[in-house]
């Protein structure tokens, strides 16, 4: 563990990424306490330019709502959706990949055809269709993003398991009569985790981008403010008020960049052999 942090902190991208992520999480957790302006309430005149009033540092939108407050509260939605949907995708993808790799043969064939099928469907189009049909809410958004992002997890885990199951310690466990579940959970998966962690950090970034795109198209949770929604709402008035679209977009850019950098840092720290094409 100590070794891991050492090499993680040695890679510059890992350090920058970690700093960005910590700042974003801090903003999501404590921001609303420090800046109690509700992102939905009118606090000033509409179209107040940024940097004019210290109470509303980034100006107001077309309805006089605080852009900065929106960004702080939006961080919660983006990070939450990114993390939870990635976790769900891992919960779906890991068992499928592990079973395919461990049992091989027909099981492998069937599971991999199933995975390939989901990988062929254009993911963003499927996410749009699902959220539209299930009605936009934080649950339908998380479910849709998870549903379109698990196939790479399954494929990665399958590959790892495939190579691990021929190792001697796994063979030994089989000979001693351990159950398949026990061997997969206790012997194989812990050793297959590092590439999965790298992939997961990149998936959180992709999930944040997906969520913001859905919200931008008007498919966000109507009760929660999010960065994508803010950009979408500012789109029609971009000629009069550039700041409404610029700032939330910068927030998305920086968080996604941070997570991608963490992914690279983790990659360097956890598996120096694996090249960057991991995704």
């Amino acid at each position: 563990m100590k070794q891991f942090w050492k090499s993680m902190l040695r890679s510059p991208s890992g350090v920058i990424g970690l700093v960005i992520l910590i700042l974003a999480i801090a903003a999501a957790l404590f921001g609303p306490l420090l800046f109690p302006n509700s992102p939905w309430r009118m606090v000033q005149r509409p179209f107040l330019p940024p940097f004019t009033l210290s109470a509303v540092p980034l100006g107001t939108d077309a309805l006089g709502r605080d852009v900065f407050a929106g960004m702080i509260f939006g961080a919660r939605v983006s990070l939450l959706v990114g993390l939870v949907s990635t976790l769900v995708a891992l919960v779906v993808g890991m068992p499928i990949g592990a079973m395919a790799g461990y049992f091989g043969g027909k099981v492998d064939d069937a599971l991999m055809r199933f995975t390939e099928f989901f990988q062929t469907i254009p993911s963003f189009a499927l996410a749009i269709v699902l959220v539209a049909i299930l009605q936009p809410s934080i649950y339908s958004i998380v479910a849709s993003i998870a549903l379109v992002s698990w196939p790479p997890v399954a494929r990665l885990v399958r590959g790892e398991v495939l190579s691990l199951r021929t190792r001697e310690y796994v063979q030994a466990a089989i000979v001693t009569g351990q159950s398949n579940t026990w061997i997969i959970l206790r012997e194989i998966l812990p050793n297959a985790l590092s590439p999965v962690i790298v992939l997961a950090s990149l998936m959180v970034a992709t999930a944040i981008l997906l969520e913001s795109s859905l919200s931008f198209l008007g498919l966000g949770d109507p009760n929660l403010i999010s960065w994508g929604y803010m950009v979408g709402a500012g789109r029609t008035v971009i000629r009069q008020a550039w700041w409404i679209t610029v700032f939330p977009g910068v927030a998305i850019l920086i968080s996604v960049l941070g997570l991608n950098l963490i992914g690279e840092g983790l990659n360097d720290a956890l598996n120096p052999r694996l090249s960057r094409e991991g995704r």
């Binding site: 390939e116 099928f117 990988q119 062929t120 469907i121 254009p122 993911s123 963003f124 189009a125 499927l126 749009i128 269709v129 699902l130 539209a132 049909i133 299930l134 009605q135 970034a205 981008l209 913001s212 795109s213 931008f216 198209l217 008007g218 498919l219 994508g228 950009v231 979408g232 789109r235 971009i238 000629r239 550039w242 679209t245 610029v246 977009g249 998305i252 850019l253 920086i254 996604v256 960049l257 991608n260 950098l261 090249s275 960057r276 094409e277």
Partner: protein, 323 residues
């Protein structure tokens, strides 16, 4: 080669059928009784009309039979009727398809050409300032949400500098013909295509760079060098050709993302393609149209995947020797 092609086409058809079946169940998941919804959309919701609709679309039949009717319809290119737009879904999509193909193929060509170019440069000058600059730019473009890049493009090139039009396919009411029309369309195309292309350009840059650095270390490159071949020939014929393989694979994987990106880009730039059609269907909760576009998008991805498979076999020098 021919049997390989037949196999792939067969596989694609099976996947497409599965997607059509999935689509059928998604329509059933949509809120409301389809017949009542349709009647409401047609502007008359009395019981007799609802019953007529139910019979007409086979909604009174058992589910497997409904599925059969639906699949049969899709196979004969009957994707249902859009009551909001008062036109068959297939006709609406057919009208919009050329614009989407123009946009996505241009964006794809731009991203692939620039991505390979920048990636090659970065790998050639690995470790120098040029390499760092290209890598950092690629990282940033890779993290930008597409809709935001589009809006920043409009802000910069349309609002501030007034160089390029911010929406549409051509200047409305200009009635241009011939070359003037082509130039007009091209002007409208630049921003959407660049927007859509930038993200993929970043990906291909990173991929080309990583893969060229990897291939460079391999034995056959050393052999080529030992034979006394010039650096340019080695780079072009040995390194680049082998380094391109993963890039081609990635291009195939990305076709779905490209279509998804087209939805966003066409929405922002009011580009009259099927992505914009999907957005309109979304706003109006026109589920027949929405799912019709979805099936066509999936079919496009399958065709694109098939093409990349073929290209892969053409580029891969090992397969050439094997056959």
């Amino acid at each position: 080669m021919l049997s390989f092609l037949a196999q792939r086409v067969l596989k694609g058809v099976i996947v497409l059928l599965a997607i059509v079946v999935l689509n059928f169940f998604l329509i059933r998941l949509a809120p409301g009784d389809p017949a009542v919804v349709m009647a409401g959309e047609a502007g008359a919701s009395d019981q007799v009309f609802v019953k007529q609709l139910r019979e007409k679309f086979g909604l009174d039949k058992p589910l497997p039979e409904q599925l059969f009717i639906y699949v049969k319809g899709v196979v004969t290119l009957d994707l249902g009727f859009s009551f909001r737009q008062q036109a068959p879904v297939a006709k609406l999509i057919g009208e919009r398809l050329p614009a989407t193909l123009l946009l996505t193929l241009t964006a794809f060509a731009i991203s692939l050409a620039l991505g390979i170019l920048f990636g090659t440069f970065a790998a050639r000058f690995a470790g120098t300032f040029l390499d760092t600059a290209i890598t950092v730019f690629a990282l940033i473009f890779y993290a930008m949400p597409l809709f935001w890049v589009a809006l920043m493009g409009i802000l910069l090139f349309s609002v501030t500098m007034e160089w390029l039009p911010s929406f549409g396919y051509e200047t409305v009411g200009a009635n241009l013909t011939g070359l003037a029309h082509a130039v007009d369309v091209a002007k409208h195309l630049i921003m959407p295509a660049m927007t859509l292309g930038l993200f993929f350009m970043a990906t291909y840059t990173r991929m080309t760079r990583a893969s060229m650095l990897e291939v460079k270390r391999l034995d056959f490159v050393k052999t080529a060098r030992a034979k006394g071949l010039s650096d340019a020939v080695i780079q072009r014929r040995h390194v680049l050709r082998n380094a391109l393989l993963p890039v081609v694979t990635l291009a195939g994987v990305h076709s779905g993302t490209l279509i998804g990106g087209a939805v966003i880009t066409e929405t922002v730039f009011a580009w009259p393609g099927i992505g914009r059609l999907m957005y309109d269907a979304l706003l109006q909760r026109d589920y027949n149209l929405l799912l019709g576009v979805f099936v066509i998008c999936s079919a496009m991805v399958l065709i694109f995947n098939l093409i990349t498979d073929l290209v892969y076999r053409l580029v891969d020098p090992r397969i050439e020797f094997a056959s």
